[in-house]
Symmetry: C2
């Protein structure tokens, strides 16, 4: 049997079982170890079920209301090491979907089902794109500009948006673009003056740590001459132009003061202040928005963790969180302490050293995973997101789906060998780092950087040069210690040593996104929805039990009509589709029975 | 023999003949009726030679200096109606090229050779894209923003640009983007305040008459949700963001006062004034630029033809050229006369009618070609530039090359049947127009709209609705007459009749681009280079003799280091590549012996 025949046989049997409502027959098509990941099509959730019990449970809850059918292979199936892989398409009563299938010995090992569009609500793209001009003559004609201006003036005043997104970084912007295409009236609220400022306002040497192929926004790809690692101001300009070109209703210089949900009315009250030009407070305008849906897209690294360190108030130099570190040049000749050893800590140490700081000391409290950027690109990303991948026909959309097709439960299995190869390839580098006293780790199970990101969103540095400064002693390192207290002109470490200091940067990371809900809505709502992010892998900073998916991200939460959106550019791009479809379905009154709403296990 | 074998056989023989310097053997590979169109590879010109004599002449002049080789088929050849077609690639000593071949009975009917890149000066794209971040630590590091700002502040002051482009519409912007990628220091001078204003400042109902697939700029395609016909303000926004994203040195609010060429120094002196914000003349800054190359990209429709009509000074209403017509709404209730019957005349008549003008009268002086937009898209553009073309794998780049592969000499042969089909398909429409008194034509030889555009750049309207207003008498029509004189409150036509008038719009077209050279440089230089545009087809407004290519466009002129760039978005996109490569080669000191500089036959 060819791979295509094998996949067709399976898909036909699956289709037949589902059409007949024969859940047990469908269950038998899955292997004992098997994973079905569904993005919104059956579950109206982002959920992965495991094994026969999981498949049975999902189908018992969802099959009748989903009405799936028209399952087809998309292209030819392939086979590698006994695993048959195939792209698929299918329909439900209300939507079209695509997905991916892996078979071992004719039974399903992994199945991914993902919604692409709602029937009758297809995006106006390609064959469906707008005409732009309306042919014929019409005395009531309004030009594109007139309509655009009228909409911008009316939305939030005369007409309430269906959705408000708090946070206009890449996450809010990408989601806003999808909602615009789906015809969901949306306002994006952003406190900065211009789209892209959340990048522009950071330290000057910052570049994206992920390469360009990984970073595309929806609809409009970076051109082929775009740098591999976008400089912060350049990505800022891109986001700004994207916001214009995609015709987003983007309220910049606008602060959200608070939000509350009226359960009875099914409506949020969102209080915002639109700041006047040049920050003139006399021109501030308070506006109350009343959307049905509220999305927090304030960044999974939005709310700084600021440790309380005794004596901080007495410090005579500058002290700030890494998120507030802008101008390293101001610290030329100064003695600088950076608390932390992840990405920002390394970047800021290097920027300070480059700017001629008299002394830069990194305080490493606990071990950190380091991956050299070149090696990471080559070994971890190259097959999916690279010039090589593009050349071999792996589009961004395909790469996203391939990535999504690997269940989180077993993803580490695929990651561990990558990092074993990395350790070997860069052995000298790691040896030198350890010799410099740096505390290295590879994640609890050796699965490296990406699993750390998915589990805890922290714990690593993608090396673009700072590690060599550590090795060379240009960035001084104090590892295995913390800051015990701060004196007016120094810090005292937990080992009793004292370091003179003019600057202290707290590169101490960020809290869970539900902290934003606490700040903007209430502690009660924050506790109700619980911790955001993390898989429940029972590894450091990602306590169990196993959740199967990122907690609360891009999917329904325990608070009606409250959503969290974020992640890196890849995740924002891909999962904004599923979040946008969930919002659109609700706006259109399409039934969206949610399967698999778990318990909240952690508050933050 | 398969098509691929036939093409391979021919190409091998051609390669062998050229490699051996056997010009006669190469000549024999061409049919008696044959055309070789070269875009910069052999000729350092844009030139088409015809038949054995033409091929022989080209090779005698260019073969030795070109050093072509490595001719290969690109993909499989195809055969339709006895014509074998193939894509090819090749190299010269200094460049790489691609092209297209048509064989009939094994001999060459058409050959297109086009430069894609200069060896050693490849664009930093794809595999060659910049890294963005410089890994490692460098105390001298300047961020992308710092470098960008330093360059913008220095260019034109501390450092002279190699090239100055006058005119920052889509033509200047697209060319500027290519030059930036090729590392040619360039300043674009634009009198408007913002990129895109040349569109924004026009009448409000204006949309592009060409569809989106035809209109892409280099490097960055419109997204799939872009309207078929871009509204003017939307394309304006796109051009503005493109200018930023492509990092162009764009001097907006800047007027060019004049330019002169120092033959001895090989350098232009270009006097410009950079206007201050809000037009405050105290903040005007005079700058003298000294580029080696000067490009006029002021638009092939840049300099208005304003007829002198007796009595115009006495007119008590408004009178302006169509290029200055912005706000039709101001003429609600007014009696409006529009002189002319091409695109702008129709658009403005419709806009005035829509705005509630009391009376709109079109004065049609001579016959006009009308093509309904839908039919034009379906019959004339659909195979190359449409969603259908995209779906069948015809990329924009392929479409451009297919279009370029058809020699101008015989292009009308392919066009005539298209317009015969159009006449038949829309017969009722044309009948109704004629019944309304409209004077129709299809071009001197029935070859329709696109040949009119290529030959004379005028003489047609792409109907998006105004023709129905003419048919219905909502736009009143006076055809076969002209305005004899203007009275304070009326116009008197050549048939003696008088029409009351509050507004007169002169939709009377534009002069040749060398008029801009007269205005900015000197009448002497304008006369030296002669008329721009037109093929010498010996049809109305395109006097012979035959030139083979558009006069003076995108190629060397009789004035050293003076170039003309323009055309519609398709032409600006495609031919900006060849103009940019010509400029880059000169900057790098690569020999560029120009073949086929013809005589100047017409001054304007």
């Amino acid at each position: 049997m060819t791979p295509t025949e094998a996949a067709t046989t399976w898909l036909t049997a699956f289709d037949r079982a589902l059409a007949a409502g024969d859940i047990e027959a469908a269950v038998e098509l899955f292997a004992d170890e098997s994973y079905w990941r569904d993005l919104v099509t059956f579950t109206w959730n982002i959920a992965t079920v495991e094994g026969h019990d999981g498949v049975r449970d999902l189908l018992r809850s969802c099959l009748a209301s989903t009405g799936p059918g028209n399952w087809r292979l998309d292209g030819e199936a392939t086979e590698t090491d006994g695993v048959v892989e195939a792209w698929i398409t299918f329909e439900t009563e209300v939507a079209r979907g695509n997905g991916h299938l892996r078979l071992v010995d004719g039974t399903c090992f992994t199945l991914l089902t993902a919604m692409t569009e709602l029937k009758g609500h297809e995006e106006p793209s390609g064959d469906r794109r707008p005409m732009g001009v309306e042919h014929g003559a019409d005395p009531e004609r309004r030009s594109w500009l007139e309509r655009r201006r009228a909409e911008a003036a009316d939305l939030g005043y005369g007409t309430q948006p269906y959705c408000v997104i708090i946070g206009g970084g890449q996450g809010g912007i990408g989601l806003g673009a999808r909602l615009r295409q789906l015809g969901v009236p949306t306002i994006i609220v952003e406190r900065n003056e211009r789209p892209g400022d959340s990048w522009r306002n950071r330290y000057k040497s910052l570049c994206l740590h992920d390469p360009v192929w990984y970073d595309h926004l929806p609809y409009l790809k970076f051109p082929d001459n775009w740098p591999v690692f976008s400089p912060k101001d350049k990505i800022g300009d891109w986001l700004e132009m994207y916001t214009t070109v995609m015709e987003l209703n983007y309220w910049s210089s606008t602060e959200c003061l608070g939000a509350s949900y009226d359960e009875a009315a099914g409506e949020w009250t969102v209080e915002v202040v639109r700041h006047g030009p040049d920050g003139d407070p006399d021109r501030d305008e308070a506006v109350t928005l009343r959307p049905t849906q509220l999305v927090l897209a304030t960044g999974m690294s939005g709310r700084p963790n600021v440790p309380e360190i005794p004596g901080a108030d007495s410090f005579e130099g500058d002290i700030h969180h890494s998120s507030g570190h802008r101008d390293s040049a101001a610290y030329a000749g100064k003695r600088c302490i950076v608390l932390g050893s992840n990405n920002s800590a390394h970047d800021i140490c290097a920027a300070l050293w480059e700017s001629g700081a008299a002394e830069v000391t990194m305080i490493q409290r606990s071990s950190t995973h380091i991956a050299r950027s070149e090696t990471l690109m080559e070994l971890a990303l190259g097959d999916l997101y690279s010039e090589r991948a593009v050349a071999s026909g792996v589009t961004t959309e395909m790469a996203d789906m391939i990535f999504a097709s690997i269940p989180y439960r077993i993803m580490h299995r695929f990651q561990i060998p990558v990092y074993e190869a990395m350790a070997e390839q860069d052995a000298e580098f790691y040896e030198a780092l350890e010799k410099a006293g740096f505390l290295l780790d590879w994640g609890d199970d050796g699965s490296g950087l990406f699993m750390k990101y998915l589990r805890r969103g922290s714990g690593y540095y993608i090396d673009v040069g700072a590690s060599q400064l550590v090795i060379d002693g240009k960035i001084k390192l104090r590892s295995g210690v913390n800051i015990e207290r701060i004196e007016p002109n120094s810090v005292v470490l937990t080992d009793g040593s004292e370091l003179p200091a003019d600057l202290i940067v707290l590169a101490t990371g960020y809290g869970s996104m539900n902290g934003w809900a606490a700040e903007l809505i209430s502690q009660e709502v924050a506790d109700k929805v619980g911790k955001c992010w993390g898989l429940g892998s029972d590894t450091t900073k990602d306590p169990g039990p196993w959740e199967g998916e990122e907690r609360n991200m891009w999917k329904p939460t325990k608070q009606d009509n409250l959503w969290f959106h974020g992640g890196n550019l890849h995740q924002s791009r891909h999962y904004s589709l599923y979040l946008a479809l969930q919002l659109k379905a609700r706006m259109e009154g399409i039934p969206t029975p949610v399967y698999g709403m778990g318990e909240v296990h952690h508050l933050s």
